[in-house]
Amino acid sequence: MTEDYFSFTNRIFNPSENFDKPEALKGIRVLDLTRIIYGPVVARWLALFGAEVIKVEEPREGDDWRTGTYWAKYWKDSCPYFQSLNPNKYFVGIDLKTKKGKDLVFQLAKISDVVVENYRAGLSEAWGIGYTAVSQINPRIIYISCSGYGQWGPLRFFPSWDLIAQSMSGVARLTGFPGRDGYKLQDYYGDFLPGLLGVVGVLSALNYREKTGEGQYIDMAQAEALMRVMPNWTYMSLLGQDLGLTGSIDPSMAPSGIFKTSDEKFVALAIATDEQFVALAEAMGKIDLATDERFKETFERTKAENAQDIHKLVEEWVRTKGEEEIIDLAKRYAFPAGRVMDDWQITNDDWRRERGSIVEIQDEMYEEGTWALPAAMLHKTPGRIKSLARPLGYHNRYVLKKLLGLSSKEIEKLEKEEVIGYWDNRVGQRPPPFYNIEKDPMFNYEGEGENNGDT
């Protein structure tokens, strides 16, 4: 008797064994010159899957997301949003406006496999730490610049944020009801999706380099990534008109929408295929709908007027059922339906915990917390959170000694010259109040640089 499929998959994916498994990107060193969200998430993926990521910040200033927290909400004197984007990284404070600071970063770039930056376009070039300079001393480097519109072309210096890129790409005008004010894509989709496609670019380049030894330059443009996910261009060019706003209806599926249940909750329901429509008709106890000329075939069913008719019928039907009932029917008859989840339900979701996409982490500095991992699970080389973010400059001594071979004396000198530095004594940057940083062996790393002079 072979093992049941789900006992097999539950066994091979068991998240409690993740820390015993190897890491796919072990041995890859990433120099992370990023801030806010868009750049940091590129390095985040690499860090979760085993790369050694060194995040460089400006002393006493740091990544703006450290202090730019929602509702001024801090967690143990750190910004939890920043924490979620910067796990497993080394935190170094170097002032790039000084010549010596630039040199230090340059030395780190020399011994890295990947550089990720999201300064405004052109800035890393202007500072002499751009691709043209780094590739001279490290031809194997994979250098990704993340900007709003790309590093070349007339709009290259134009400012950007998630929402600005959304607006310049047209994606900002796609959410909402016809004739009413629209909505932006929430939670910085304009950072997270482009960042993830940047990850894809870097990983493709790493795969290529593994075979050929060649590095390369990647020009990641936020707005271009958003334009890549829009069907509007194809629709407009073939039909001569915009797709327009459709509320919660996905115009490519009928019925589709977010419906109110008898227990005053909401369910999402969308029918993508004829097979699913038959299943829904059966669940509704109205099997004749499945042979109705208006509905029986997908192309016909999704035509605006027919879609409206079936939408109405489904709306009335859902109103007579509870949320649980709809999900139960979806399960029994096999049509797509889902609950409308909120943040708190998600955070407490047993499924996500069992899956290992929401994990309780016991961190050496910040102790217990609840964090998310990407929804792509690799059973032999799973992603994992080994440590949370650290105060600004926390790894200065460790990184500069171990990787650049500097001595304690040289480090002291750099500190005095304010080339390297640490946190400002404010929330978001400093260690948690209960933590004794003076006794932290990593912060006070005592080993001496071994390869002194190699830099």
């Binding site: 703006d64 730019g68 929602y70 509702w71 001024a72 949003y81 405004r120 052109g122 202007a126 007339p154 709009l155 134009f158 600005i164 796609l174 629209g182 910085y188 993830l196 493709s204 790493l206 795969n207 330059y217 020009d219 990641m220 443009a221 271009e224 334009m227 890549r228 996910v229 829009m230 261009w233 629709y235 599926m253 589709s256 929408g257 977010i258 999402a268 969308a270 993508a272 295929t273 097979e275 699913q276 016909e300 035509k303 979806a330 008859y333 797509p336 339906a337 889902g338 409308v340 989840m341 909120d342 943040d343 998600i346 899956r355 996409s357 929401i358 998310a372 929804a375 690799l378 032999k380």
Partner: protein, 448 residues
């Protein structure tokens, strides 16, 4: 061709003769280095992918992205074709092919195999023996029950990377219990907590309901995650020779990557309040009405906000709304007060006038040593049809015009990102069912 004019810069670090000259050269270098795509090698040139996606654009897009980076993708369909062919806005299609399918059909080979019969399954096994990646979007466990799931295929090919894409994934008790429920973008958005972040509670019914993000936000995010997972697994395979299973849950894709839901839930022990068009972290960070449409204003930090007030001539508001903490939205009605005040000004100007004001201010601000002026940004909230006309995208060839013998003239977005050595690219568009049967059957010695 590159022009030798430098666009306006908004940082004092980008000024000075030497820097300006370097940046011009850099621009020219990139035009040459990144512009030529056709004759460059492809990152995944020796990777072969079998796509078994069924009515799932998460699966289709996963394969398309891999194909754009050079993988040979063989899309396997039943003789009647993938139902995804018909998933298209308002039933719009060209010769029976829906628009999203057309848009995501690039660079693939199309073959038919009937996995319901023994011959089809035998052929699949033969095929899989010679490939690197399989993409499965069927009901979890279905292919396994047919003898062609990860367990069986990895026996035939230990280096196989098997990518499963489904609503709840291929493991956990819930995944098993709900394995019958098929995947769509909308249901995945809802289960991800995304739809509850849209819509305005102050609106009348049904406009106050949770709301769908108006693009396939969950399907594209799922696909990007699946590709990142696949490439991570392929990298491991290059080093160690072993393949593995990559499991993507579309219902978790947005939540777990954007992560704010969990961060919020964990620190506040409650869901976020629904706040309509406002933002939970930044203010102003929203659309405003103006004379000829909408502008988007991003001036979230305190210094950016001060700059905005100067631009709009509303310094009188500074006293009450000085700090982000004053402006941040814990009370929608209060947030609305400031919005109304700001809109009183924006409505007097056109989109271009407002953008110009902000850009001029930022250009000046860039030379201020203390940087205290801030960089308030205002841009037109562009309609897609306006974006089509933007010169920048023409220079970068971001939107590609296709003139196809069967499907006619249409536009699709180019591959991202731009890369110097192995750029992802569009090679061909085709999508007839079984179009490549002959060639692929022969190449892999499949039985007809």
């Amino acid at each position: 061709m590159a022009t030798r004019e430098t666009p306006q810069v908004y940082s004092r670090h980008l000024t000075g003769k030497k820097t300006t000259e370097h940046l011009l050269k850099f621009n020219e270098l990139l035009v040459n280095m990144m512009g030529d795509v056709k004759n460059k090698p492809e990152a995944l040139r020796d990777i072969t992918v079998v796509e078994l996606s069924h009515a799932s654009f998460a699966g289709i897009i996963t394969a398309t992205l891999l194909a754009e980076f050079g993988a040979e993708v063989i899309k396997v369909e039943p003789p009647e074709g993938d139902p995804a062919r018909k998933i298209t806005p308002y039933g719009t299609n060209v010769n029976g092919v829906g628009l999203p399918f057309l848009m995501e059909s690039r660079n693939k080979r199309y073959i038919t195999l009937d996995l319901g019969c023994e011959k089809g399954r035998k052929n699949l096994k033969k095929l899989v023996g010679a490939v690197d990646v399989v993409i499965d979007t069927f009901k979890p466990g279905l292919l396994d029950s047919l003898g062609i799931g990860y367990r069986q295929l990895s026996q035939l090919n230990p280096g196989l990377v098997y990518v499963a894409v489904s609503p709840y994934g291929h493991y956990t008790s819930k995944a098993e219990e709900l394995s019958n429920i098929p995947d769509t973008d909308l249901t995945a958005q809802a289960e991800s907590g995304y739809t509850l972040l849209f819509g305005d509670p102050r609106e009348p019914e049904p406009y106050n309901y949770p709301l769908r993000a108006g693009v396939w936000a969950a399907w594209y995010m799922s696909a990007a995650l699946a590709v990142a997972g696949t490439l991570t697994a392929l990298f491991h395979k290059q080093r160690c020779g072993e393949g593995q299973m990559v499991d993507v849950a579309t219902n978790d894709a947005i939540t777990a990557w954007q992560a704010f839901s969990v961060v919020w839930g964990f620190t506040n022990e409650a869901p976020r309040a629904r706040i309509g068009g406002f933002d939970w972290c930044l203010y102003p960070y929203a659309f405003f009405k103006c004379k000829d449409g909408y502008v988007t204003v991003a001036a979230g930090t305190d210094s950016d906000f001060r700059g905005l007030l100067k631009i709009l001539g509303r310094w009188d508001l500074e006293d009450d709304w000085r700090y982000l903490f004053d402006r941040i939205v814990d009370n929608v009605d209060k947030a609305e007060e400031l919005r109304v005040e700001l809109e009183k000004i924006t409505i007097k100007y056109s989109r271009d006038e407002l953008m110009r004001k902000a850009l001029d201010f930022s250009a000046k601000s860039a030379h201020d040593k203390l940087r205290s002026g801030g960089y308030p940004i205002i841009v037109p909230t562009k309609e897609p049809r306006e974006v089509l006309e933007e010169k920048h995208w023409k220079v970068r060839k971001t939107l590609v015009e296709i003139d196809h013998p069967i499907y006619g003239k249409f536009i699709i977005p180019a591959s991202v990102p731009k890369m110097s050595q192995t750029p992802p690219r569009l090679k061909w568009i085709k999508c007839a069912i079984g179009e490549d049967n002959e060639q692929v059957y022969e190449k892999y010695a499949l039985s007809k």
